[in-house]
């Protein structure tokens, strides 16, 4: 099945990086996106293995705000978002992925949605649960988790392949 192995980043695009540092200039999180490119290239060029180790194990990978400014500014059209996501998967293989994503997936398996009921506050200081507030405003209730078993099994299968 094609869904089981979605395309990885192409090395050709990656080699295009000529270290102009434009991506560093625009990154609001203070990251150096070009280093992610280097780390990715280490899958081919062994001498970059140190960069790879450094990047995959340090927390900068999870400090990317996904603002996509680096992607937009890169004169060489390096798909930095794909690069970062690839490295995040590598980090996840070592158990370094933040817990928050797991929780969202678990929630989806139980309710179709990433989040359950929240507390909604008004400017006057009133508190409501999601259900109360939606009802008060005449909005439909959240979807019911009917017939979710098959969906849950499917997600479990897909989780194991990434």
């Amino acid at each position: 099945m094609v869904l089981e192995k979605l395309v990885e980043v192409s090395l050709e695009t990656l080699r295009a990086c000529y270290t102009c540092f434009k991506c560093i200039g625009v990154c609001p999180a203070g990251l150096r996106p070009n280093l992610f490119v280097k780390a990715y290239l280490s899958t081919v060029f062994r001498e970059l293995r140190d960069v790879y180790e450094e990047i995959v194990t340090n927390s900068s990978l999870w400090s990317c705000a996904k603002c996509l400014k680096c992607v937009e500014v890169c004169p060489q059209k390096v798909p930095l978002n794909d690069v970062i996501e690839y490295l995040q998967r590598e980090a996840a293989k070592r158990g370094l992925a933040p817990r928050a994503y797991q929780d969202m997936v678990e929630n989806i398996m139980g309710t179709f949605l990433a989040f359950g009921s929240q507390t909604i506050v008004s400017r006057d200081g009133d508190f409501y649960t999601t259900g109360e507030a939606r009802e008060l405003l005449g909005l439909t209730p959240l979807p019911e988790p009917n017939k979710i078993e098959k969906f849950r099994e499917r997600l479990k299968g897909l989780r194991s392949i990434g």
């Binding site: 996904k66 949605l113 990433a114």
Partner: protein, 296 residues
């Protein structure tokens, strides 16, 4: 009069559960704009947050969503959240280009009795207002208040970037939101922080950095003398409106930028009440600007 446009509305997890004024104000406003919204009950998360970790799962979730949302055969899918908008426009783009991928997604869905027949048009709220409803119609809305109100627009990162995936406006110099604001009788102006990130994605992994990004966006915008900032995305709204007080206090500053949803502003211009667009749920200092918008 043109035929009524029928759009399936996808609200998205966060707007469904937390920023509910997004859905409410959109539905209220659409009643007046010759658009028929269909709000399907059977939806699921688009998979945006963990797209990097589980790309196949995310694509399956997005594909499943496309199938459920097109079941009623609408003219398009209106996505209220920028994260969902990116997921859907990207999926549609990939599935159009890659038939094998499309067949693969279809066979997964068929197993569940879902059919992905055509590939629908994905519509952003700004696109709906600017291209489908049209600024001429917005100009005709009964205007209240004072047209010296200076409005900052906030599109949000995933409405426009990456430009490799088609969206509704120019990714480096968009203008549709400004034209909407002007059609409503207000003033809009470019500003250096216009395309900056609200930081919301980082809430899950690095909350203090998320606050820092939001602070830079809010305080940067506020210094140009805007009376109001408008956005459509529930996550941007969470960072810029709901968390504004916390964000500003973290950096020893005060909340001072009124923030509204674009659909709330349109609703007020249409003469809807504050309650109709759930303005009591805005936590930024909107009281500062309300007298200039609503004539009491």
């Amino acid at each position: 009069m043109a035929r009524m446009v029928k759009l399936a509305v996808f609200t998205g997890c966060f707007a469904l559960s937390k920023q509910i004024a997004v859905e409410l104000s959109t539905l209220r406003v659409l009643q007046h704009l010759n658009v028929e919204p269909i709000v399907p009950r059977s939806v699921n998360c688009c998979g945006f947050a963990f797209r990097g970790l589980y790309p196949s799962m995310s694509l399956y979730l997005t594909g499943r969503l496309l199938a459920s949302l097109t079941a009623s055969d609408p003219d398009g899918i209106l996505t209220l959240c920028n994260g969902c908008y990116l997921m859907l426009r990207e999926a549609v783009h990939r599935l159009r280009e890659d038939r094998r991928l499309l067949e693969s997604v279809r066979s997964y869905l068929r197993d569940e009795g879902l059919e992905l027949r055509g590939i629908p048009r994905i519509v952003h709220p700004v696109e709906l207002l600017h291209d489908i409803v049209g600024t001429e119609v917005l100009k005709g809305i009964k205007r209240t208040g004072d047209n010296n109100v200076l409005v900052a627009t906030h599109y949000g990162c995933h409405a426009l970037r990456p430009s490799t995936v088609p969206s509704f406006d120019n990714s480096v110099n968009p203008s549709k939101m400004e034209r909407i604001v002007e059609a409503l009788g207000f003033r809009a102006r470019d500003y250096p922080e216009r395309l900056d990130c609200c930081g919301a994605v980082l809430l899950a992994t690095n909350p203090s950095l998320a606050m820092k990004l939001a602070y830079s966006k809010i305080s940067g915008t506020a210094r140009w003398g805007f009376h109001l900032l408008v956005t459509t995305c529930p996550y941007c709204f969470e960072m810029l409106d709901a968390r504004q007080e916390a964000v500003m206090q973290t950096f020893g500053d005060e909340p001072r930028l009124p923030v509204m949803l674009l659909t709330q502003l349109i609703g007020l211009q249409l003469g809807l009440s504050e309650g109709d667009v759930a303005l009591n749920l805005n936590l930024s200092p909107v009281d500062k600007v309300l007298p200039q918008i609503v004539r009491r």
